[in-house]
Symmetry: C2
Subunit: 500 residues, 2 copies
Amino acid sequence: MKRIIDVTELALRDAHQSLIATRLGIDDMIGACEELDNAGYWSIECWGGATYDACIRFLNEDPWQRLRTFKKLMPKTPLQMLLRGQNLLGYRHYQDEVVDRFVEKCAENGIDVFRIFDALNDLRNVERSVAAVKRCGKHAQGAISYTVSPIHSTGVFVEQAKRLVDMGCDSICIKDMAALIKPQAAYDLVKGIKDACGENTRVHLHVHATTGVTLVSLFRAVEAGVDCVDTAVSSMSLGPGHNPTESFVEMLEGTGYETRLDLDRVLKVKEHFAQILPRYREFLSAVTGVETEIFKSQIPGGMLSNMESQLKQQGAGDRLHEVLEEIPIVRKDTGYVPLVTPTSQIVGTQAVLNILMGRYKVLTGEFADLMLGYYGAAPGERNPEVIELARAHANKGMIDCRPADLLEPEWAKLRAEALPLKGCNGTDEDVLTYAMFPKVAPGFFATRDEGPRNLGRDPETGALETEVPQGHAGKITGPVTYTVTLSGQQHKVTVSPYGK
Amino acid sequence: MKRIIDVTELALRDAHQSLIATRLGIDDMIGACEELDNAGYWSIECWGGATYDACIRFLNEDPWQRLRTFKKLMPKTPLQMLLRGQNLLGYRHYQDEVVDRFVEKCAENGIDVFRIFDALNDLRNVERSVAAVKRCGKHAQGAISYTVSPIHSTGVFVEQAKRLVDMGCDSICIKDMAALIKPQAAYDLVKGIKDACGENTRVHLHVHATTGVTLVSLFRAVEAGVDCVDTAVSSMSLGPGHNPTESFVEMLEGTGYETRLDLDRVLKVKEHFAQILPRYREFLSAVTGVETEIFKSQIPGGMLSNMESQLKQQGAGDRLHEVLEEIPIVRKDTGYVPLVTPTSQIVGTQAVLNILMGRYKVLTGEFADLMLGYYGAAPGERNPEVIELARAHANKGMIDCRPADLLEPEWAKLRAEALPLKGCNGTDEDVLTYAMFPKVAPGFFATRDEGPRNLGRDPETGALETEVPQGHAGKITGPVTYTVTLSGQQHKVTVSPYGK
């Protein structure tokens, strides 16, 4: 009798978020949906995280419409989203009523499984959304933001899992966004949670592939009793993304474990995205192989290239190494926060400033807020000297309550601001879009009628589908050198008359 | 007390053979040698396989000089080569005296560890070279060509390992060139060999990464008692290559196993090749991700792209799928030979012919020889009908003796042919070069004085270092479309005046 290991497919959300900066358009997903829905996945992650932001910011696509499309095309398999607790999908805390309404609308439009996490693992920040999900009769998955530090141990995470179960979560997810969890640690943590919370507590393991070790971690997690793992179809895998679904299935042969997946269907999904991905080459992560240096800096792969370009803009492209050394110091001062949205950006940006301007000579407002408790309780003790600097910078005191408790009711105000916007359709969904992205939403509402914008480009010509060049060969008689921008990269190219 | 797992680094041989068609020139290796030599590897594979052929065919580089350079730059760490038994590094069987002389010269010029295999696992084909290595006082490693078929079982391979030990081999290598060995199979085989041959029999495991599962297989092999694994530094890893060295080291944390590697030095080697690799982009394997379809076809990643271009040349680029279905049929008819040089080429080419011309309507001479025993005994029973076709085609009978027993002494003849060649320096090394590559050697001897040719190109301009274009910007007034060849690939590119 083989034990079944369930699988969550990430191709439609985290995979393209990690590999091509969340730019995948709905047109390029639709073709894979039927196979995905029939392949036997436990769930398909397809919404939340950065996809909402990318939809309205880059793709002129209504994220709610995207969700409804998924629900229609994938009626059999539970649809899953990633939710940042009290942050929802935005970058600040929201008042509880906004959280409730958002969760209700997600459930109504098609989400079945809500994976809910807080960057600081402050569980007060996930309580409200977990309760809202339960009220909607959907699956609430409580996620632990995995990190490695002197104060994080298996015991700490197991304790957190117990509290999530007590809170009413239907399952626990170990969320390892920077590929830090090594095989033994994965085994110990899964086993620890099972031992503490009972065999019947579902444990899911979400890992990225960036450090190269995490397929082994998945294997050990299976041996420890994990119920479900997250993978991405091979053509949308590896690098800063995830482990390949097909490899996970194949590696179980002869082990006493197996998945329910129909590999022939998975291979069709692979083929679909293998055709699509080259069209998004300009967004492709610079990290394509394995980066074990992440074990030191803990910076997720996707963020590394952001940071590099931040430094280059400041004319300090050669100082990345110093920044990577600074990050663990800043992180220690925060009380060892896990690095995941938004803490990864806050800590990373502060480390850049420390290197460019001198340590803590300049603070960002977000970093001061983090030090002062406005994102929640820190995992460990914060550096008191840096707290004092933050207090002086922000001209406000520390808090130790749940941050959202300080917020006034805001739904009516958000609604009043959103409704008059040109193109706003008056739905709660639109109000929520405005609530989360007040600067981007007005522009999106105004252009929504033009329909989704597909950012894929012809891999040969680099042209968007709508702007295929109508060129003709110019007359040249000998080799000529041009600066040519191809897929967003400048090349010095020498051109000769065709046929010579 | 942790158990030490040894590591063989593949960057200088199999890694670039798998990733960039063996084109890495000595200039681009020298800079990594000091760190490699001090990093703590059990051995550094740096010679043999296709490197000898590529040196004289593409790089105008004397392979023996390359070996001496390695020995000088890496005096501490044993240097390792891959030897195809009675085939040496060529594509036919050699008479025993040639084998003896070749092994002696390898030992004399710097090889410490000889990994010796036969594509058919016919151990009569490796006996002579094993004996020669032992006579030189060097390490003879007997390799098993790993494959999966109805007649190959753990038991069959364990039996082979026992015979290799009895033959005098100092260690056993499981050589999995197509990434077929799954975790449970790796565990069973390593444990089987240890149980049958004794704990003190060293077992090495060579795996490629192509199917994505084999780092897990390495992990399970470690648990089963493997002594040494083969990996490649991360910047020269994955795709049709191997698992990243750094990931192997990191994944052992907390497991009770560890390597002797100095990770800081390994990361310097990583950095070195990360700078180098983009210069060889035009040779980069088309396979960059994971390909689990290999479990069916068993075609090594490197060969897939060869086969594709073979088909395209015949105007049958759309028939790859049929060929991949044909290969297992042809392989069955040969008695389930493992697919590795030269059998992978022989079976692959015959499968292509079967699809293009009708099954076995045309046979290659090599395929007929394979069916008639001229490469050695087949692992299983050959198809008698195809044997008859081969007999008719080749107009000769079957043999069941060791193929090299049919060869007359040939050293004197080879020497007499080689010495008069223009540029031949009269050494046994040159005679051996001629013996293995009689068509290529004369040209190489004639141009050797010009020194090594580096095939790396400027990633921006695509120019070889010696031919950086002296172009000037041609005057164009609007967008113009050209056919541009960039890094060997044709692109349709639209060019606008700079700054517009």
